[in-house]
């Protein structure tokens, strides 16, 4: 089979898999236990790295914008610019990277090793659909954690940026907050959370699909984890672009 045909077939299978997961969403019984366990697990592997990444990220944005804005002679908007950058873009992206790198790889490795140990086959034979039993709770958990994580990253990032601007670049707290009032609005926060929700779902779906189709022994699982992280990153950046483009079309911006 030629490479393009294989690629198209894989995408088709992945799409069918997503539809199955969507259908599994409505099916009883709801796997509450698995969901709670997974949400706990994903947050335990992602909270610390997310917090640690978002402080320097917020600071870098503040630094970049701080000097750029000064060059343009618009110091009074430093606050607004860095908060919006963090909340709209940086927050969801950091969340996505952490969710895909820490949560997604763990999901993929877990499902992949279950696949090669024939646990998933055994489950199907026992009359239980692994998509409903294992994948749906993981996707939901990943979405929940992504949204919470995005909140965390935004708060930490904005504080980092604020501290950096006020303490190190000599900005004034009042100007920082006032400028944000002037340009920011509620939909900015919402779009960040919507992005995080989508990223969480995409990361878990790709990881689950790759894990459940792993083959060829332990090496196959390693390959699947590797591919799932790479594919998720590409997918997330594409999704991010789409959502941002739609957002600017749909939501009128303040002061423009």
């Amino acid at each position: 089979m030629s490479a393009p045909v294989t690629a198209v077939r894989r995408s088709g299978e992945f799409f069918a898999f997503c539809l199955d997961a969507l259908r599994g969403l409505g099916r009883r019984p709801v796997q509450v236990r698995e969901f709670v366990q997974q949400a706990w697990f994903i947050s335990s592997v992602s909270i610390l790295p997310a917090a640690l990444v978002s402080i320097p990220f917020g600071a870098v944005i503040a630094l970049q914008l701080g000097s750029l804005v000064r060059q343009l002679g618009a110091q009074s908007f430093t606050g607004a610019a860095s908060v919006l950058a963090v909340v709209r873009e940086a927050g969801p992206i950091v969340t996505a990277l952490i969710i895909a790198g820490a949560g997604g790889s763990a999901i993929c490795a877990d499902l992949g090793s279950r696949k090669i140990r024939e646990e998933l086959d055994a489950m199907q034979v026992l009359g239980i659909d692994p998509i409903q039993r294992l994948v749906v709770p993981r996707v939901l958990a990943s979405m929940l954690v992504a949204v919470l994580l995005n909140g965390l990253v935004s708060v930490v990032g904005v504080s980092g940026g604020y501290a950096f601007n006020v303490v190190m670049q000599g900005g004034t707290p009042g100007a920082y907050l006032a400028s944000f009032q002037a340009l920011g609005q509620l939909p900015d926060l919402l779009v960040g959370e919507v992005k995080a929700l989508l990223f969480g779902a995409a990361a878990a779906l790709v990881a689950s699909y790759k894990g459940m189709t792993a083959k060829g022994g332990p090496k196959g699982v390693g390959d699947a984890v590797n591919q799932s992280v790479v594919i998720t990153f590409m997918l997330l950046f594409a999704l991010n672009f789409l959502v941002t483009a739609v957002y600017f079309q749909v939501v009128p911006q303040k002061g423009s």
Binding site: D121, A122, L126
Partner: protein, 332 residues
């Protein structure tokens, strides 16, 4: 009661590579059948196709009037409730204890209380000799124990068709003898349809009502035990008597030259060994599917090899109940 499984013209390939083709056989309801074949001929693939985990390229599998390869996923999940499957490596859930593994199907599919579940699980674990290992994780027990735990889990919902993928590989000879007795007793009690994949020639000769042999991508023969054990078909004869002389070589098939050389050298095939009697249930009462020894041979005018059905050859195998090791004598 067991259920009949009728397989017709079944063919399966992976990426254009055929595993086997045109397999037709009927597993009679309530009987024990054994499936043999050299390593890598696709016996495990056949079992997975029977439960609908793999879709065949062609052919039909009819169970209670339903054609499995044509069912939707949802309908397949319903049909699968008829099945109990013991996978080659046990396929236990690695994150659950042995107890939770065996309890899993009950918790998912029944409304039993924990106390009722405990009773059933303990009974099944006792049956396979694993009482005392309940709290262990699958990673902490031996391969043979994993296999027995897998068997307990496969039996917990009282399936009407049980598929065993090499139940006896990785078991010691004593446990294998007990397992064979367990299979016979289970069949007597539940009257379910059994299909056993095995490499153990002793099991194949003494346990089943029917034997099938997959060889070189085809079903070489399938039929009553006595038919295969008295067959002079070269492949069947070689395999069932574990001989080197015959069409099967180390790498699947000997080539024409080798066979010609063998014929030239005038290698005499050793005579067929006597057909051993079938293993009886331990309580002495017959199984429903049991047929009197020698019946098939008489009906088909076949003279069984001398010494058949007397048990002379296998006398050592039958009085093991007196031994000190019980199936319950596991890791207490």
């Amino acid at each position: 009661m067991g259920v009949e499984v009728a397989v017709q013209g079944l063919t399966k390939s992976f990426n254009g590579q055929p595993v086997w083709s045109d397999i037709s056989l009927t597993l009679p309801a309530g009987e024990i059948s054994v499936l043999l074949g050299p390593s890598g001929t696709g016996k495990s693939v056949f079992l997975k196709t029977l439960v609908g985990l793999l879709r065949p390229d062609r052919g039909s599998i009819v169970i209670e009037g339903l054609d499995l390869p044509r069912l939707s996923e949802r309908a397949l999940y319903e049909v699968r409730k008829l099945f109990g499957v013991l996978f080659q490596d046990g396929a236990l859930f690695g994150s659950m204890t042995i107890y939770d593994n065996v309890a899993f199907p009950l918790r998912e599919h029944t409304r039993k209380t924990e106390a009722e579940i405990r009773a059933v699980v303990t009974e099944k674990l006792d049956m396979v000799g694993l009482v005392g290992a309940e709290r262990k994780l699958p990673g902490e027990i031996s391969g043979g124990m994993r296999k027995r735990a897998g068997l307990a889990r496969a039996l917990v919902l009282d399936p009407r068709i049980v598929l065993f993928d090499e139940p006896d590989s990785g078991l010691d000879p004593v446990r294998t003898a007990y397992l064979n007795q367990l299979i016979i007793d289970l069949n007597q009690r539940t009257e379910a349809t059994f299909l056993i994949v095995t490499h153990d020639i002793n099991t194949a000769r003494t346990v089943p009502d029917n034997i099938g042999l997959i060889y070189h991508g085809h079903l070489a023969m399938f039929g009553p035990r006595e038919m295969l054990l008295s067959s002079t078909e070269p492949v069947v004869r070689q395999f069932l008597n574990a001989q080197r002389i015959g069409p099967i070589g180390m790498a699947e098939e000997k080539d024409a030259e080798e066979l010609a050389a063998e014929a030239q050298a005038g290698v005499e095939l050793p005579p067929l060994p006597p057909i051993p009697p079938q293993l009886p249930p331990s309580d002495g009462r017959p199984r429903r599917a049991e047929r009197p020894p020698g019946q098939w041979c008489r009906e088909h005018g076949v003279t069984p090899p001398p010494g058949s059905f007397t048990g002379a050859e296998w006398s050592g195998q039958r009085d093991h109940q007196a031994g000190p090791v019980g199936t319950g004598g596991g890791p207490r």
